[in-house]
Symmetry: C2
Subunit: 334 residues, 2 copies
Amino acid sequence: MAKQPTVSDIARLAQVSPSTVSRVLTGSSPVHPAKSAAVLAAIERLNFRPNLTARALARGKSMVIGILTQSMASQFYGELAQGVEEGLSGSSYQCVFASGHWERAAEQAALDLLLARQVDGLIVLGGDHPDADLLAINEQIPLIAVGRLIAGLEDHCLRVENAAGAFQAVQHLIELGHRRIAHVSGIAAHIDARERRRGYEQALTTAGLPVDERLVVEGNFTEQSGLLALEALLARGVHFSAIFAANDQMAYGIRLGLYRRGLRVPEDVSLVGFDDLLGSAYTTPPLTTVRQSMLEQGRYAARGLLNLLADMPPNLPRVATDLVIRESTARVRG
Amino acid sequence: MAKQPTVSDIARLAQVSPSTVSRVLTGSSPVHPAKSAAVLAAIERLNFRPNLTARALARGKSMVIGILTQSMASQFYGELAQGVEEGLSGSSYQCVFASGHWERAAEQAALDLLLARQVDGLIVLGGDHPDADLLAINEQIPLIAVGRLIAGLEDHCLRVENAAGAFQAVQHLIELGHRRIAHVSGIAAHIDARERRRGYEQALTTAGLPVDERLVVEGNFTEQSGLLALEALLARGVHFSAIFAANDQMAYGIRLGLYRRGLRVPEDVSLVGFDDLLGSAYTTPPLTTVRQSMLEQGRYAARGLLNLLADMPPNLPRVATDLVIRESTARVRG
DNA sequence: CTGAAAGCGCTTACAG
DNA sequence: CTGAAAGCGCTTACAG
């Protein structure tokens, strides 16, 4: 393990002072071409790579932005994370991730670590961290949230047109002649879930259809809960010809439940999801769903944070949704 | 933005020297209980959090290990990353991710960044970075690879029983009476792909069945390529009653292709994948596949690196695979 | 354009 | 058990 060369090593080899080496490294002020060349040559020769930790300490800026996510294995958060990464590429900021695993303690620990590492900004992806804490953090370093709403910091929170998206999805089912449309909602504590449910109800009401409590079951956004919700729905014995799920993962579970009961999609039951995960184009049949591009959201969040870092307003757009009609929905039979 | 308190602030408030503050922070040597209590109180009072960047510089150890991954949005890498994260939790190491996006330049940049951030160890997840570079890096900091084999560093590479897993999958099909079994392989440059193909051929040979080149199509591990491979297979006009795909994602694509052609799974064609991604239990029908737990592999890799960091041999186990029989495979039709 | 000096916030011998 | 000092590897005023 040979020691890594430092700025002093380069300075010695190039016969200049460390200050000058630093100047050519950062381009902060002009350096005589000859010296500059000597420095560059020395850097090349010793294969020197500046120690970013030391630089961060000296500058008081780490140039890293922290992403507080919930899970690395989840499709949903993975796409979001990738979007953030893309949005940051080109800037001189790097990102580091820490996962909360949907647990208060782990999320707190993850956040503490990020802060202790002196991140220059923070992007919060979902989670349950208390608003007050987040508000306090925002006093120290700029913060953007995706998939959650922080009271008092609304303009730092990326908002998706959840209700409009859900409305569109249900309207599509109504246009196909469906009258009995069930809804598997997400966790009610989650604002996205509430907004999507509202969109569902509005679409029904707008079409003059009744909102029937018995057609709504609450899930928790997992495949498993979708499967269970379908069972619950079936057990109630109420008739329905279509289901709107509050996210794609639950739609997958519902789809499997339907398959197990011998109900065909879309011949017997039409199914619509929400998210348009990468895999939804490859389910059988390909899933009709409300697309909210997570990649795009990640990019918006990154851009918003970059704005904040440049002392500008975050300027987050409202994220529109698109209904992508694939093959899991069809005209009602009979 | 109030400045963060530092060790000196704590020292002043607790009426001790910075050295003592550091001692109670790290527990590196005994401190008088009274002073210790005063320091703790000051820390609490000022809500002090040690600057890990400064600590890293002072100690010459960052306590972070770098994960060079390919994509954050991929299910496969996501599970692997999560496993690494789990394996590292409990240790005092933290992990930071950088993605190569399956591109040489991006991978190089990601690696450089990790190195410049002074990671204490490196876990390489797949990718194409040249063996020689990796070998050189391993001279500086310990390195473990998953999903790739580095010549000259075999004991630092986590190995999966690919051939045995594939063998088992194909044997299962043979036991169900299938005689014409197609294979959609992965990228031939990839060792996993080659080994799985070998397992496929061995199973056929062992059963006294011929290896028919026309039944093999190469994919690139994506859903899209699975769909295309199926089309190619169908276009060849050779008969087959089962398909073994080199990974689950391609199996998803194949499954969709089959659906489009009106071929039922498993009634008309049996289908087996490899990986057992989280979603594979929720496809319709649920996919029979060879499970290689990515979470487990991530944990093994983390543990191996921790061993290396403690100056012990990596001690990586050979990762066994399990055939998980679900509903996409059935006895061949009379 | 350039070097000497001081400093970023911590830790770790060193000398009591 | 404890404080003063030096140092980690860089950067940035400051004074030429």
